[in-house]
Symmetry: C2
Subunit: 515 residues, 2 copies
């Protein structure tokens, strides 16, 4: 058994059953090993941003790592932006990055690069395997690193000769430690704050946003009068009818500050202290009111659900008292395409079990209220802020959850970053409906120009924010990659297109003309 | 004047007149400054791989840097692969990378990343500007660094507050040192080798491949019997009728070794000792024959043309005796699409002054002989081996040389990496004809599978090399980005499509069905 086969067998043995890839010469032994080993599904992306984003989506939905297989430094480089997003989301990923044969590196051939240097800013764990004998153990260590709570990026660099030389066999993955429990003092401290009667916010992100954590938070809120919010962006939020509904801290600084100003205490559960997305000349980076006391109940990697359960016990809070969301769909909207009518249509049509991947940027900021009462579904946000997140993450989520409908909400500017996702969706016949909000502009930047005080832009500046000259046609592009698409210019057309996409399986694209 | 304006004025004053960009919030002051300062053309790309590749193409054709303007770590990350290619090509580029306001970095907001860490593997020079007062001087230093022979990647990181705070004014670019002269001892050593009568190869790359350098090399070859070759890949080769023709070292190791085995001496002019693109289990990394003596005449950054002139003088070699290429076009081919008929069609139709950007991978390896006698033109190769190079570099070359026809030869797999280039070509109405060789496969990898000894791949492995399920349709994709396209399935159709593209101006796409 060569090193590549020992690694693939170690991955499969360690529960890594999916490999997103765009391989090259240095990875050919790994690719060849795929035919010798059962249990690894290999999914090709036409660009590495698709590969790494798909691994993020897969990791979010399964809570276990997929592998990526990438071609040397530049292949990893192409995947960096979505690895950045995945790292910020604490998604578990095992990157396998091919490298020149160890004897060849010194020649500085065209593809030679500082792979570890490229990997480090987007990885929690980086190692170059020194020989075929160590590849299996290094792969097992990478799985362990990736699986450590709350989820990490592990990058294993594989010189080609470590793949083709003879290996010693398969390695077992070390036991993954369970999430650490929060100590009793912090539980009691939180209870004291909640019993103080002072206005208190429980600010959450991470695994606490699964149904059980929300129910516990809802119980505590019902008992104590505390308010619940999530961070602006979250890895995976379980929401919809029968779950405890929760809104997000707004993106716009003034709105966030206004939302947070009433609280004398903020209790962090997984979340970080609320900070602005960007720094602005005359706006605060820290969004809580002056004097607000911030107290941490649980770190992101700790067992926040257990902590809330113990806190609820201490407070005598009961889940049955939580304010669960009633099943309630808005009426099907008519008339013009507006942000609200789009939200209503989604709220009216979201199917049970839908996975919504939200890169709708400016369009979707108000989608939460009207979709809150739809059947239970998941909502995934971009946590790293690098656009080109949506369609790759939707691709990976669909691989992870083949029986669920994936709905990608994507701005046109974001969609163009990683449009190649559509081809992988067509090839794998994934049940993904991609909704492009085509406003022909980097709309968010028009607001940002004013926020940063660079106001009154001239034509040259505005040109850099407009992507409607020439007009993009996403239906044409989708057809070119094997995905059927429809362009809609009224909310009635949107309703029909969405309804039909929800009733059929397979990849679809809806281009919503927003102007 | 704020820091952003001081930087833009410094760039323009330093001869940087083009900025390829995809900006975000942290770059808004820079964008706003563009309207206040004349002399900077700003070109938007829908993905940063387009932006950095375009800067590479521009730098190659003008021998001076364009600026890029990129959005924090992930924006730079998206540009890494083509910066890797540009670094290997020694193209001059000034990257301006926005960063959070300095007071905001410590909050670890979503887009916070180790930008210097991401920049370093693909930059010769990296600096984070500490204040608005230093931005102009740092910009001038970046231009100087980028302009140092043979061309470098300089990355200046610009915290947002250094852009919006008050600056001190504009900075002047330090004088750029001329290329260093080769010392006399090396000229004499080279002359001795060439006079020895032993079979000698002059192996070249870099600025020596401009018309004048080739003429001098041709004179020396005529006088001494030395053979001429270029590296496999070159930044810019001036070729065609009236110039000294030169072939490249082949990609395939066995062919390269066979080509080089006759030489007892290899004289390096800009080039590196010939090394294989990849290391293979049973093939050499060093391609020269055992016993071949390798001697360096000129480093890449030295004045190789001056060195050849002095060497020619010492040898009594005259340019007029060089073997210049006769004007000679092959007859227009008929029949099937083959590698040779495509080469013949190109040879028959290449217009004078064409800039050929070659990312044709397996298809174009044999294009040189039949295009050698076409009117004078330039040929640009990928020097870093990261695919997705062709269409961005063609975009930048067209911005650099608006009166010349750019012809991009691109494999379908490569084209999909950076297909967004087409939109920028449409927006700027660039005179680029993109020819996609659609074989529906990563053809090169099928050869590589055998070369690395991973042979006899099964279905799962072969699936990772096939991109024809579903079929891509580049004409649809091009239409979706505003570029008219034609799909051709016979060489007659190809001849007609190419002829018409050569006669009209503006962006065009030809999809050549290779199967």
């Amino acid at each position: 058994m060569n090193g590549a086969e020992s690694l693939v067998r170690t991955l499969v043995g360690g529960g890594v059953n999916v490999c997103f890839t765009n391989p090259g010469t240095s990875e050919m032994h790994f690719v060849a090993a795929l035919d010798k080993v059962d249990g690894m599904r290999c999914v090709l992306g036409l660009f590495e941003g698709i590969v790494t984003g798909a691994a993020d989506g897969y990791g979010r939905m399964t809570d276990k790592p997929a592998a990526t297989l990438l071609h040397l430094g530049p292949g990893l480089g192409n995947g960096i932006a979505n690895l950045h997003n995945a790292k910020k989301a604490a998604s578990p990923i095992v990157n396998i990055v091919g490298e020149h044969a160890s004897f060849h590196i010194k020649y500085d051939a065209p593809l030679t690069a500082d792979i570890e240097g490229i990997a480090r800013p987007v990885s929690h764990w980086v190692k170059t395997s020194p020989s075929a004998k160590t590849v299996a153990a290094d792969g097992a260590a990478a799985i362990a690193a990736a699986s450590a709570a709350p989820g990490q990026i592990a990058t294993l660099i594989l010189p080609a000769d470590t793949a083709w030389n003879e290996a010693d066999g398969v390695a077992a993955v070390p036991a993954i430690p369970a999430r650490a429990k929060v100590n009793e003092a912090r539980i009691r401290e939180a209870a004291d704050i909640l019993k103080s009667g002072k206005p208190t916010l429980i600010l959450m992100t991470g695994h606490v946003l699964l149904e059980k954590g929300l129910a516990l938070a809802g119980a505590i809120a019902a008992k104590t009068g505390a308010k619940l919010l999530t961070q602006l962006s979250n890895k995976r939020l379980e929401r919809g009818a029968g779950r405890v509904p929760v809104l997000r801290v707004p993106y716009v600084v003034d709105m966030a500050v206004d939302t947070l100003k009433e609280f004398q205490n903020i209790l962090l559960v997984g979340a970080k202290p609320p900070v602005s997305f960007f720094g602005y000349p005359d706006k605060p980076s820290e969004q809580q009111a002056p004097g607000t006391v911030i107290t941490r109940l649980a770190e992101l990697e700790e067992d926040a659900i257990d902590a809330l359960a113990r806190l609820a016990d201490l407070l005598g809070a009961k889940e049955k008292d939580a304010a669960f969301q009633a099943a309630k769909r808005p009426p099907m909207p008519t008339g013009a395409i507006t942000l609200d009518s789009l939200a209503a249509s989604l709220g009216a049509l979201l199917p049970e079990g839908a996975i919504v991947v939200d890169e709708s940027v400016t369009t979707g900021r108000g989608f939460f209220p009207l979709t809150a009462g739809a059947p239970p579904h998941d909502w995934l946000n971009n946590m790293g802020g690098s656009i080109g997140f949506g369609t790759p993450v939707g691709t990976g989520a669909a691989i992870a959850c083949p029986t669920r409908k994936v709905i990608c909400l994507v701005g046109d500017g974001s969609a163009m970053y990683t449009i190649q996702s559509l081809w992988t969706q067509a090839r794998e016949n994934l049940d993904v409906t991609t909704i492009i909000f085509a406003n022909g502009t980097y709309q968010i930047l028009k607001g940002e120009l004013a926020q940063v005080g660079a106001g009154n832009p001239g034509r040259k500046a505005m040109d850099m924010l407009e992507i409607g000259r020439p007009d993009l046609n996403f239906v044409d592009m989708a057809r070119g990659m094997g995905v059927p698409g429809r362009r809609v210019s009224s909310i009635d057309e949107f309703n029909k297109a969405l309804q039909s996409a929800m009733q059929e399986s397979g990849p679809k694209l809806i281009e919503v003309m927003m102007r």
